[in-house]
């Protein structure tokens, strides 16, 4: 190893490195990475700075779910539910959770103010969709959580204006004793467009899995469903109840997610014989093992033929 002096990284660089490691932690593994990172950095202050910046981003990206201290419900930490620094709204119980990101707990809760909540008109739609989605999630995901938020137009009071809801669904399975963790995240944007009289549904699905018994293997799959012609629900907003629109939207979500799961399974089934082959065949074209003792039976490329002598090995 050449003995050039490694220039020590600056404090800023060290913080960036720690942040990078934390942010790239697979689902459910950030605390393990945190522990190892502390040991590697050997500098409490630097670590604390990095963690303070990285944890909120990680938590929101992974849409972690935290219980309220009084067990009155749970809140999902997402960019859609964020209403202030470290404050996240749970529309179901109309509470705001004050969250400690680094320790991934909810410290306390307070009731939400009127300004933080949507209008009763919007809440009808939000609530109806929440009911349908919760039903769907409980049927399909053994360990799923979901939440519906209004991200645009929460102050709309009557028909005639556009508004937008977001459905977030998250399911995680953590099995560190089996060296396996995984997560499924879906984000569905539901836009109610008054002038066009339709509802447009767009979604992003992200699935990850990590298996690390004597190795390190990860799946990272992502899909954006944005062909709006497929998912628009024509509706007469005046005549269509919130319940009906909720039902239609949930049907779309269910259909798309089922399709996506099927396509994932198809990808896996093609692996051993098709996809993998582009990396390495199971056997040569001859369907026999390589004849190490006698390579002359192959039709060799010209340059190899020349240099290969074809002598018997000693």
């Amino acid at each position: 190893m050449s003995d050039e002096e490694e220039t020590q990284p600056t404090d800023e660089q060290k913080i960036e490195i720690a942040k990078w490691f934390l942010l790239n932690a697979p689902a459910g593994e950030i605390q393990y990475i945190a522990k190892d990172m502390k040991a590697v950095l050997q500098d409490e202050t630097l670590y604390i700075t990095a963690a303070a910046e990285a944890f909120p981003l990680y938590n929101k990206s992974h849409m972690i779910c935290l219980d309220f201290p009084d067990r009155s419900g749970e809140v999902m930490v997402t960019s859609f539910s964020e209403i202030g620094e470290n404050e996240y709204l749970d529309p179901r119980t109309a509470q705001v959770a004050i969250v400690d990101h680094v320790n991934q707990v909810c410290r306390r809760a307070r009731p939400a103010n009127d300004e933080e909540l949507p209008t009763p008109y919007i809440e009808e739609y939000r609530y109806a969709l929440d009911i349908e989605v919760t039903k769907y999630v409980s049927e399909v995901y053994p360990k799923g959580i979901c939440s519906v938020h209004c991200v645009n137009g929460k102050d709309v009071e009557e028909p005639g204006m556009d508004f937008e809801l977001v459905v977030v669904i998250s399911a995680t399975r953590l099995s560190p004793q089996n060296f396996c963790n995984g997560s499924w995240r879906s984000i569905w944007n539901v836009e109610f467009k008054d002038e066009a009289q339709l509802v447009e549904v767009r979604g992003t699905l992200q699935v990850g899995a990590h298996y690390f018994e004597e190795g390190n293997v990860q799946l990272d799959a992502k899909h954006e469903c944005k062909d709006s012609t497929m998912f628009t629900v024509k509706l007469e907003l005046e005549y269509l109840s919130p319940e009906d629109s909720a039902h239609s939207v949930t049907t779309i979500i269910c259909h798309q997610e089922t399709e996506y799961l099927n396509s994932l399974q198809t990808s896996y089934s093609k692996l051993p014989d098709a996809t993998f082959k582009d990396l390495r065949r199971k056997l040569p074209v001859t369907r026999t093992l390589f004849p190490w003792h006698n390579t002359s039976q192959f039709s060799l490329r010209k340059d190899i033929q020349k240099s290969l002598g074809l002598e018997k090995k000693k």
């Binding site: 190893m1 040991a39 992502k222 582009d278």
Partner: protein, 262 residues
């Protein structure tokens, strides 16, 4: 150091190069350990004489130069670099030629290199390397992969036991990644790295190259199978646990609810 290895096990394999260089900058005193225990993506250089590529690794490096197995020259040139003995060089040349054919048969392309050098006590060490880019813009014959890479490093320590037998200790590591991408299913990306060991005592009547070659072949097949079935299989299992595929989930929810009510 243990913490560093812990980090490497959790970071997505596609980021392992960045992770390793980050760790090296934070833990310069552990660089020797890190470099020997963590696999890094393989790089290649082009041999000046033959124009053929060769793979770079610790075993053909001296100072900042790398020795080509084709011309036996250091790139960039080195005044007093280390070279294998004449006898080992002969074995090395033979190994490279045969291994190229092996590589062609299994990898339908790709680059291979073999380096052989004396061991401290007796015997010698051989290192077999393969680098395959399976993306459709490179050597991916069927065009499935938007991105795909298989890199294997096999290090065999050979120690003669007596006139007729030798002990072969093989340590192999494979790093692979593959990504498929299409309109209907989005981006699907699997990546991973595993290491395994295998020891065998074998008769030398057919020569060392045969023995080493067969071990490498057996090991690679095992690793391929393991990655495909066990490792990737586990990730698939995990997804099906998260969201069980079910014929029962109707897309028209009210019917189902009504059925349950009646």
């Amino acid at each position: 150091m243990e913490a560093a290895m812990g980090l490497m096990r959790r970071i997505p394999p596609k980021h392992s190069e960045a992770a390793l260089s980050a760790l090296l900058s934070l833990l310069p005193h552990h660089s020797a350990d890190l470099l020997s225990q963590v696999d890094q993506p393989l790089q290649v250089l082009c041999d000046v004489d033959s124009g053929k590529e060769f793979i770079l690794c610790e075993y053909n490096r001296d100072a900042d130069s790398y020795r080509s197995p084709w011309s036996n020259k250091y790139h960039p040139p080195l005044d007093d670099g280390l070279y294998p003995s004449q006898e080992l060089r002969k074995l090395e040349m033979e190994a490279n030629d045969v291994f190229t054919v092996y590589c062609d048969q299994y990898y339908e392309g790709g680059t291979s290199s073999v380096y052989i050098w004396e061991n401290e006590d007796e015997g010698f060490i051989g290192c077999f390397l393969i680098k395959k880019d399976g993306s459709r813009t490179a050597d991916g014959r069927r065009g499935y992969l938007e991105e795909g890479s298989w890199e294997a490093i096999h290090v065999i320590e050979v120690v003669p036991l007596d006139e007729a037998t030798a002990r072969y200790c093989l340590t192999s590591s494979v790093m692979l990644s593959l990504t498929t991408n299409d309109e209907s299913s989005g981006a699907f990306s699997l990546s991973g790295s595993i290491r395994r060991q295998m020891n065998m005592d074998l008769p030398v009547d057919e020569g060392h190259l045969c023995n080493m070659g067969r071990m490498v072949e057996e090991m690679e097949s095992k690793l391929r199978y393991s990655l495909d079935q066990v490792y990737f299989g586990k990730t698939k299992e995990m997804i099906c646990t998260l969201r069980p595929p079910s014929e029962l989930v109707q897309t028209s929810l009210p019917e189902q609810i009504n059925k349950r009510r009646s």
